[in-house]
């Protein structure tokens, strides 16, 4: 596991966006070779999406050969409702970039057979060759997607009833009217995300600090579903200083020290490559240290 600690939300967003950009560039996608990504919604990834749009507008990357799979969607909420995750993705990402609709996948919370919809989603991921990079955020209770406390750590895409805490928290998006807040959602399982080649979790803000502590300093526990990624071979947590408030000083210093060492190494490698006139691959995902 890697823990990347940046000063603030802005820097964390930018780091995550550069990581994604460089991943896509390194993958070198094409018509025969799509880059597959898992995508989150919510306020945490907004800054990251903004940066990705900026890179697209600057001509640095294209999403023409990128396939996306969203983590979750409410059940029974009209697709064009402003709070639906379809609307979120359209307004905050899809409409700004060159991604093709046929390459985007969001669970249909209005499907006649919800279970079949979930199974079909899993099959689509498999058909796309699995997910290269799954980007996620977490809730203050450590949930990833809608895998709330107590969810099975080997769960697959399925229908979930939302925790009362989540429903209450969401009421603010529905004019404070609890009766309008969806109570069910379709969500990828912890196991679905675990299958991705690489997972990047964004955690920012002091209110997520306890969840980060539970995620990385304590054992794997289904009450903090994000802790499952301790057993994933390639996970990177990207956080801001505030999110580290509940971590031990030792943990923070350890990971910050690693970041410095790697940036020194990177610079030296690049310097050597330059003097030897070797084409140095600056696009390595870790190159932004």
């Amino acid at each position: 596991m890697k823990l990347i600690i940046l000063n603030d939300y802005q820097q964390a967003s930018e780091w995550a966006a550069k990581y994604i950009r460089n991943k896509i560039l390194m993958f070198n996608p094409g018509p025969e070779r799509y880059f597959t990504m898992g995508l989150p919604t919510g306020s945490t990834p907004l800054g990251c999406y903004k940066k990705l749009i900026e890179y697209y507008k600057n001509g640095e990357i294209s999403f023409q050969y990128v396939k996306t799979f969203n983590m979750d969607e409410y059940v029974g909420l009209p697709r064009d409702h402003p709070e639906s995750y379809h609307s979120f993705m359209w307004n905050n990402f899809f409409k700004h970039v060159d991604i093709r609709a046929e390459n985007t996948h969001i669970l249909d919370g209005n499907a006649a057979d919800l279970q079949a919809e979930c199974e079909a989603f899993e099959k689509k991921i498999t058909a796309a060759g699995g997910i290269e990079l799954f980007v996620g955020g977490i809730g203050p209770d450590g949930h990833i997607a809608f895998n709330e406390p107590g969810s099975s750590l080997v769960s697959r895409t399925r229908v979930k009833t939302l925790a009362q805490d989540t429903i209450n928290a969401n009421a603010r998006f529905f004019n404070g009217d609890l009766s309008k807040v969806p109570t069910m959602a379709l969500t990828v399982g912890v196991g679905t995300v675990m299958d991705a080649k690489e997972v990047m979790i964004l955690i920012t803000g002091a209110h997520k600090a306890f969840a980060l502590y539970k995620a990385i300093e304590e054992g794997v526990n289904h009450m903090w579903t994000v802790s499952a990624f301790q057993q994933h071979p390639q996970t990177v947590f990207v956080c801001d200083e505030d999110a580290t408030l509940e971590l031990r000083v030792k943990t923070v210093k350890y990971f910050k020290g690693k970041m410095n060492t790697q940036s020194v190494l990177y610079y030296l490698l690049k310097h050597i490559a330059c003097t030897m006139n070797i084409d140095f691959d600056y696009k390595h995902p870790m190159a932004m240290y």
């Binding site: 550069k18 560039l25 070198n28 697209y56 001509g59 640095e60 990357i61 294209s62 023409q64 050969y65 697709r79 064009d80 379809h86 609307s87 359209w90 307004n91 899809f94 409409k95 060159d98 093709r100 609709a101 046929e102 410095n260 940036s263 020194v264 990177y266 610079y267 600056y282 190159a287 932004m288 240290y289």
Partner: protein, 441 residues
């Protein structure tokens, strides 16, 4: 060592990554990029206007505008329902995209007078319709001043309601200004043509106008006897009734509005001046006698000559959502400076003034719609949104046309592209470019 570490700060390395710009560019560049179409719902190509600021929901917002089949498309539905995308990109390069202007009062222009008996009325209408495209007008109401019945009977059937296109702005219907107006406030209307209502106003209307099929607006004076039934009859037939050329007091005007009238013809002009004990027709702007969902709209000639800027501001501040910009343009609009023979008169155009030659008598407005919008914007200090909507959304609302005057999904793609000073750069009707400002060298 210290020095080395300074070099390795995050920011500097980040900067290096950014400046090593050998990145791949997949994006196709250029102004108009052709892509194969997705045709699950319609075969029609989809145009996406990018990098523009569009006027939607009373706000200028950075948003792309999508057009298919002459209408404005909801791109989110296209994306999710049809998995579609644009066939053609139009780069607006930071300009403003607004709904096309709608002129509800235009007597002619470019040498044409709609009120003249003529063999070739359709050609004359077409000429004006074509020429006003460059002023951002995408639909209009050709206006006839008070005329003898023979003129109405011959001319009206020839001015057909029609959609706009490459040949010119659309015709929404004729505006008949008179002849049921007050002799006291006739303005430039010929007195011998004026009429009053008998006890059978419907028959009077039919006798004078003949057919109301191509008529959108009738201006009349509400203080005339039996005018109330005329107002009701016109509204029943779907004609918008406007109050003007009238000496009505406020209660007479309010009575007409209760009967269905919804417009005031060139506010302040050809009506009683505002008086605090009887505000007259002007009082309709702040009346409490109009049932709430309804609004009284009022036309304003914002050419800087016919209405003092202070009067413009008074009207705008009292009732901003009812303001409709009109040109009230005459034959001489669009003609070059100098002397012209118009009908029986020689007129002289100097700047924005049209005089009877050799005198200082104004003989009508020659301002174009885009000039009026700019003047109104500057004179009132209102937001650009308000100035643009006064010439698009409000006239469409006045005429009850939901698919024009706005850039909502499903509306007609009648658009204008403007620079930040509100100069028109190009005009589109049904999504098709119908006029473009020639490149300046």
């Amino acid at each position: 060592m210290t020095k080395l570490y300074r070099i390795f700060t995050n920011a500097e390395l980040t900067a290096r990554v950014q400046t090593s710009s050998t990145c791949h560019i997949f994006k196709s560049e250029g102004k108009q990029t052709k892509m194969p179409s997705n045709k699950s719902v319609s075969d029609a190509p989809i145009t996406r206007f990018i990098n523009g600021t569009i006027l939607r929901e009373h706000t200028l917002q950075r948003e792309d505008l999508w057009v298919r089949d002459g209408s404005i498309l909801n791109p989110e539905k296209l994306f999710y329902d049809e998995q579609g995308f644009a066939d053609e990109l139009v780069n607006c390069e930071g300009t403003i995209i607004a709904p096309g202007f709608i002129d509800t009062q235009i007597n002619g222009g470019f040498g044409v007078d709609f009120s003249q008996l003529s063999e070739n009325v359709p050609e004359n209408v077409s000429l004006v319709a074509k020429k006003i495209l460059e002023h951002g007008v995408t639909s209009f109401c050709p206006t006839l001043v008070s005329s003898p019945p023979v003129v109405y009977h011959q001319v009206l059937p020839q001015i057909k309601v029609q959609e706009g296109g490459p040949d010119g702005a659309g015709v929404l219907g004729v505006h008949l200004e008179g002849p049921f107006i007050s002799a006291q406030k006739k303005g430039a209307h010929p007195e011998h043509c004026l009429r009053t209502f008998s006890s059978r106003p419907t028959e009077d209307l039919m006798e004078v106008y003949g057919d109301l099929g191509n008529v959108a607006i009738v201006t009349l004076a509400p203080e005339m006897d039996n005018s109330q039934s005329a107002v009701k009859e016109l509204c029943r037939r779907g004609v918008t009734v406007s109050l003007g050329h009238s000496a009505a007091n406020l209660s007479q005007a309010e009575e007409a509005v209760r009967g269905g009238a919804s417009f005031i013809t060139h506010l302040f002009n050809a009506m009683l001046p505002f008086h605090h004990r009887d505000p007259g027709i002007v009082g309709l702007l702040t009346t409490d006698q109009v049932p709430p969902p309804r609004t009284v709209y009022y036309g304003m000639i914002a050419d800087g000559i016919h209405t003092n800027p202070a009067a413009l501001r008074i009207a705008h501040r009292a009732h901003p959502s009812g303001l409709v910009l009109v040109t009230d343009a005459i034959t001489a609009m669009g003609l070059p400076p100098g002397q012209h023979m118009l009908g029986q008169q020689i007129i002289e155009i100097k700047g924005l003034h049209a005089y009877v030659a050799g005198t200082t008598t104004l003989c009508g407005s020659i301002a174009t719609m885009d000039m009026c919008v700019r003047h109104f914007w500057q004179a009132t200090g209102c937001k650009a949104e308000e100035a643009l909507e006064a010439a698009s959304l409000h006239p469409a609302q006045l005429l009850g046309i939901a698919r024009k005057g706005r850039l909502d999904y499903g509306a007609d793609a009648d658009l204008i592209v403007l620079d930040d000073k509100l100069n028109v750069k190009s005009t589109y009707i049904s999504g098709e470019e119908v006029w473009r400002k020639p490149e300046q060298r």
